[in-house]
């Protein structure tokens, strides 16, 4: 697994029914593009997060394909409408097969 990978998510703890909330996510990851060379001229193999998803109570909120031009430590900010209490599940898929998951609960009422 790539070293120093750590997902971070910011979701409000509570919201009104049907409220549109802002979600911020960041995963620390070096996002090696596969186009750089090391000191000896050898290509450094590509190692990036290639997909990011957010689900709410089983429903897909956002599903992002990520390409090598995305920066180190990719940051995604998006909005979601929350109809009911539940749980957000955030998932990042690494080139090396690793999957990183974080969950956040939100209370509506």
């Amino acid at each position: 697994m790539a070293s120093g990978v750590k997902p971070r998510v910011k979701v409000p703890k509570s919201a009104d029914a049907g409220e549109v909330i802002t979600i911020k996510t960041l995963i620390s990851h070096k996002m090696e593009s596969g186009q750089r060379k090391d000191g000896d001229g050898n290509i450094i193999p590509r190692s990036i997060i290639n997909r990011f998803t957010c689900e709410f109570n089983g429903e897909m909120v956002i599903d992002v394909n990520i390409e090598p031009a995305i920066s180190t430590n990719p940051f995604f900010e998006f909005e979601a409408k929350v109809p009911e209490s539940g749980e957000f599940v955030f998932t990042w898929y690494d080139d090396d097969g690793d999957v990183y998951t974080t969950t956040k609960k939100i209370t509506v009422g």
Binding site: G4, K6, R8, K10, K24, L26, S28, S71, T72, N73, F75
Partner: protein
């Protein structure tokens, strides 16, 4: 309106829009995480002869850059602060000690430290910076290798130490045993260097608020260091920034950690006495 007139009026409008906004700092207030209220403008300390009001560099940045510093989640510098938080707890060196072994929790032990450094150290008989103290601990208490003065490990650790003092006013001592070092720093600040024959004061005292090509000159305050810069996407230390500035005057620079830069850091820090500690700040 014929085409020629249209074009002429279009050009006039473009000319108005292109007129640079009149210099100076803006009027925004900096509040981090909705709770830390920063002092970004205050009366200059008594020792400053040519400036009445001091401003944090934050006030000279665009709204888009400013807003990144207002929330720790958005501030990319906090990634390294977090990483340094883990290093703080991790034992290193022959003594098997971590920073926490002696100091305990960083947010209690290091609160207020960034605000008063560089500071006279009686034991060593010199003015020391936080970097020097960190390496002193590593070498003499932990039995670990010293970190490179302006390297990533060091700058991240200084950012961690700085982050727990955010909002506290900078208050470095310039009298007593530190005075000679402070005078040496002041001398450097007003000495022109390099082929361009520029001193720190030429840009940051005489010309702050003006544009130097595409850059909006600030007062060169260091209350926000270590600072995350959009241009190199990492935390930058005070001495690395000094080196860049001196290099830009086309001079041979002093080395990070040199006695000259320690003196300059004390002097420049004292010019910000009264501004809040902001590090890790966000700048361009």
């Amino acid at each position: 309106m014929n085409a020629a007139t249209k074009m002429a009026s279009g050009l006039a409008l473009a000319a108005i829009l292109a007129t640079p906004a009149l210099a100076g700092p803006d009027d925004d207030n900096l509040i981090v995480n909705g709770e830390i209220e920063m002092i970004t403008e205050t009366a200059a300390p008594a020792h400053m002869e040519y400036v009445d009001t001091i401003y944090s560099g934050w006030r000279f940045r665009s709204d888009e850059t400013q807003v990144v510093q207002t929330d720790d989640f958005d501030n990319p510098g906090m990634i390294w602060v977090e990483a340094a938080g883990e290093v703080w707890e991790t034992a290193d060196g022959s003594e098997g000690k971590s920073c926490a072994s002696c100091h305990g929790a960083v947010d209690e032990a290091m609160k207020g430290v960034r605000a008063v450094y560089p500071k006279w150290n009686d034991e060593r008989g010199e003015v020391t910076t936080i970097e020097m103290e960190v390496n002193n601990c590593r070498e003499n208490r932990m039995g670990a290798d010293k970190w490179k003065y302006a390297g990533g490990d060091m700058t991240n650790m200084v950012a961690l130490i700085s982050s727990v003092s955010r909002g506290m006013p900078v208050n470095v001592a310039i009298d007593g045993p530190a005075q000679a070092t402070w005078e040496a720093g002041k001398e450097l600040y007003y000495t022109r260097t390099g082929q361009l024959e520029l001193s720190c004061a030429n840009c940051h005292e005489d010309s702050y608020g003006m544009m130097i090509r595409a850059d909006h000159l600030s007062q060169g305050q260091i209350n926000g260091f270590p600072t995350y810069r959009l241009k190199n996407t990492k935390l930058n230390s005070v001495h690395a920034r000094f080196k860049g500035c001196v290099r830009d005057t086309r001079a041979h620079t002093f080395a990070p950690g040199s006695a000259e830069f320690v003196a300059l850091e004390l002097y420049v820090a004292s010019r910000g006495n009264g501004l809040s500690v902001e590090g890790p700040s966000v700048r361009n």
